[in-house]
């Protein structure tokens, strides 16, 4: 039962353009959502997050949008840079005494010069 889904395994974008990564979830108890970025041979690093009481959170070039009714969130990167090329994981959490993160399968982003 995949509670967090990233249906696009890969995405290619030109430098300077917008990258949009999508994520869908099924568990309505999730109240916090995060995006992690992973380079090869490294652990995931936290990128940006959003609480279920918000519908948008912005941090520099990165913006996360949450549509609770559709159980959908997206990560926008504007403008995309070659250094953004990595695997992006969406994760969700429902607080049960600790933050147990449920991850999607990841989307590999390639930003070409």
């Amino acid at each position: 039962d995949q509670q967090v889904k990233q249906n696009s395994p890969s995405l290619s974008v030109q430098e300077g353009r917008i990258s949009i990564l999508n994520c869908d979830y099924t568990n309505s108890m999730f109240d916090y959502f995060l995006w992690y970025k992973k380079y090869p041979a490294e652990g995931p690093t936290f990128l940006i997050s959003i609480s279920s009481i918000k519908d948008k959170n912005e941090d520099g070039r990165f913006t996360v949008f949450l549509n609770k009714s559709a159980k959908h969130l997206s990560l926008h990167i504007v403008p995309s840079q070659p250094g953004d090329s990595a695997v992006y994981f969406c994760a969700a959490s429902a607080y049960t005494g600790f933050q147990k993160l449920v991850f999607g399968t990841g989307t590999r982003l390639l930003v070409s010069p």
Partner: protein, 114 residues
């Protein structure tokens, strides 16, 4: 400061052997998590430690898997009688408090069972 470290970075073992994977969390982080990532899959939660107790072991896939933590520091994940389906990258993460949403990950241990 030092991040989460894991050792070994790579481990190749024969089917049926036992393996131990080590995690050194960030100093002062009370919460510690183990995940694994099999090829083409997302990260899969295995176990959570608060201090040296493990309130949630629900993700451990079988009784061949166990984990310990010493105080609020080092944790070891042990897999007994390894099987080929145990091949994965095992990731450890820590956070300052259990209610903290941001988890800091180590680089992982790539386990290959032949």
């Amino acid at each position: 400061g030092a991040g989460v470290s894991q050792s070994p970075s790579n481990k190749v073992t024969e089917k049926g052997k036992d393996v131990e994977l080590r995690c050194d969390p960030i100093s002062g982080h009370t919460a510690l998590y183990w995940y694994r990532q099999r090829l083409g899959q997302g990260l899969e939660f295995l176990i959570y430690f608060q201090g040296n107790s493990a309130p949630d072991k629900s993700g451990l896939p079988s009784d061949r898997f166990s984990a310990e933590r010493t105080g609020e520091s080092v944790s070891t994940l042990t897999i007994q009688r390894t099987q080929q389906e145990d091949s994965a990258v095992y990731l450890c993460a820590s956070s300052p408090i259990p209610q903290g949403y941001e988890q800091y990950f180590g680089p992982g241990t790539r386990l290959t069972v032949t």
